[in-house]
Symmetry: C2
Subunit: 381 residues, 2 copies
């Protein structure tokens, strides 16, 4: 165990129909006007946006709607949101959607109270304040509903960078698992990969000997696999969808790394380069990167890979555990090779260069120079 | 999975020497004067109180000291604390000690802002406000450092009752595991029993099928057993003490029951009667009650007991799992029979009557009439 600070003040309201409480929650926080951030038309077609608007209206909360957030949300759109938030002097940002919508909403929350361009906060400037963020989650995956992270892509510079700040933890996040029943199976698979990726980063890159946190991670991974398999067989499996949703939240809310000391996010680092350049789904990129990184990293932490194999799959060697995870990604139809998402091996140098920029920003440039990232990516060809 | 609200705003600062941060944390919260609640002389002898006072002084925070909290803290002493807090118009309560100190501090925090006698809140009146509570924990066991519970005993009426309120979650809790190195081994054993008791109540009394939460509980129990065994062999085992401390916090911070639906606390209900009447350590009472209750409850949830046996002890039957837990209690020298703490079997009727009062207050009177509680207690003779 190492020293740590844990402070996660987000209030989670979990259950069917709970989006109807958003008006009263905003009201209780004294909010009179929000910027409602959403993505594509699905929240309109499903009737969710109408229900949210009705709840706001019932609590006399003014609303500026701002749709059009895309997967791998882009800086240019976030800047539009910042301008709107400033123009209409909103007091909070309400995100209705999946991780991309939540992440962009957080960026807008920061930009709305800043004189600087919001991108400054993604390339190193410390966040000192932000508008309060409220969320209604429609896709379980990123954990953004209960953490202080926001990832946004600068399409001009091809940088997929992030903010990590206590100021952007959502005040309230409403999780209605029924809203996730219609998430397509390919995106459900990518979400499962993402949740697993969130917990394995610390699990493998920390120092050994923090067994409590190992067990929390293993419980999360086993539940992700178990519930994803149930959902693949029956997409509206209510119990599995609900359990999957809360599991994905716990996978990146600060619980599993508390006390493990220093660790790093190499899989996310490399994947951010992939989706920044090729705009592939984040989870699809991760299922390509993870087995390759694991094969490369195995000799650096063999005992933890042996533990992983035994606890998750009941297998006897680290290699077998990695192979089993890769096969499970194949079974749920998430890609495991660059060619499956049409990324040519000839691009590896350029991808590695992009990822190296993030490695330096995240302080792991020594272990992950361009050459090492290239080696890892070659294992994904 | 069932609907739930999870909101745990306590900031945890974990690590050696972190008590020196208390002044700056209070300062950041705008607090100018505290009531410092502690127990016996151990915090004076160890030098902890001096270090805390130095930190307060460095931040110009005024302090009224209030020592003398006892194990199974009593209402009469809490009332004295309330009077002091009102007299000196303190703005926060700072608890320095174990679960008893923290629980009494929370009671004082409620009473200090109330016109009514503080006991009213233990027998049903809703808590609407409380002074902010800050804590420096010296014994890992009760989880009070990260939850909204307070248990206090009314010695006159022999009622050990509780408050459960969002208003008494500590604002900040400082956990320095080195402070626990000197906790005597018998109290360490009682603490281990308490942490296990906190998670098994929900684990066995909820509906089946919430596997994520089962796995979180199992990870906690396995870690408690593993670290307690290490501590019994080497009381200053730093890693084990640290891991034990954080594990005990997670055992009762709202994490494991989130999503499991309705559940109950029968072991605590019966134990509260024992320690209210006989003033035995809470953990000692629990290690007597738990195996007895488990034997009685086994037919009501055989599959979960089978799971428990397999996951925790690698055993094949529910009976064997209960026996293994009882034997482990014996191994760590926590009592498992009423006679070991000099409670005569002839008293069972009176104990059951006391516990029945709590069963009714907690809404489980139907399953636990006096007669059933008596049956359970007979299994502990």
């Amino acid at each position: 165990m190492f020293e740590f600070t844990f402070h996660n003040p987000t209030k989670i309201i979990f259950g069917a129909g709970k989006e109807s409480l958003i008006g009263s929650e905003l009201n209780a926080a004294g909010i009179k006007r929000v910027l409602l951030v959403y993505g594509q038309n699905s929240v309109i077609k499903s009737g969710l946006l109408d229900r949210v608007m009705a709840s706001l209206k019932a609590s006399n909360i003014g609303c500026t709607q701002f749709g059009g957030v895309v997967s791998n949300p882009v800086l240019s759109h976030a800047r539009e949101g910042v301008a709107l938030a400033k123009r209409d002097q909103v007091e909070a940002i309400l995100a209705v959607g999946g991780g991309s919508v939540l992440d962009e909403a957080k960026a807008i929350a920061v930009g709305a109270l800043a004189h600087e361009d919001v991108w400054q906060f993604f390339v190193g400037k410390e966040v000192e304040r932000a508008l309060p963020v409220f969320t209604i989650l429609t896709i379980a995956a990123t954990g953004s509903e209960m953490n202080g992270n926001s990832v946004v892509t600068n399409a001009e510079t091809k940088q997929k960078y992030n903010i990590a700040s206590p100021h952007v933890y959502p005040r309230v996040s409403i999780l209605n698992p029924e809203l996730t029943h219609s998430v397509p199976l390919n995106y459900t698979a990518y979400s499962a990969v993402d949740a697993i990726a969130h917990v394995i980063e610390g699990y493998f890159t920390k120092q050994p000997g923090t067994h409590l946190q190992d067990r929390l991670v293993e419980g999360i991974i086993k539940t992700v696999i178990e519930t994803t398999d149930l959902i693949m067989a029956e997409p509206t499996h209510a119990k599995a969808r609900a359990s999957f949703m809360w599991t994905a939240t716990l996978a990146l809310n600060g619980l599993t790394p508390a006390g493990i000391g220093e660790y790093s996010f190499p899989n996310h680092m490399i994947e951010h380069a992939l989706s920044a350049i090729y705009n592939i789904p984040h989870g699809a990129g991760l299922s390509i990167v993870m087995p390759a990184w694991m094969k490369w990293y195995l000799p650096k932490n063999p005992s933890q890979f042996a533990r992983f194999a035994k606890e998750i799959f009941g297998l006897d060697s680290g290699e077998a555990g990695i192979k089993a995870l890769e096969q499970w990604f194949v079974a749920i139809k998430s890609p495991v090779r660059l060619g499956e998402v049409d990324i040519p091996a000839a691009d590896i140098g350029a991808i590695a260069e992009n990822a190296e920029g993030l490695a330096k920003q995240w302080g792991i440039g020594d272990l992950y120079p361009k050459a090492s990232i290239g080696e890892i990516l070659k294992l994904a060809v």
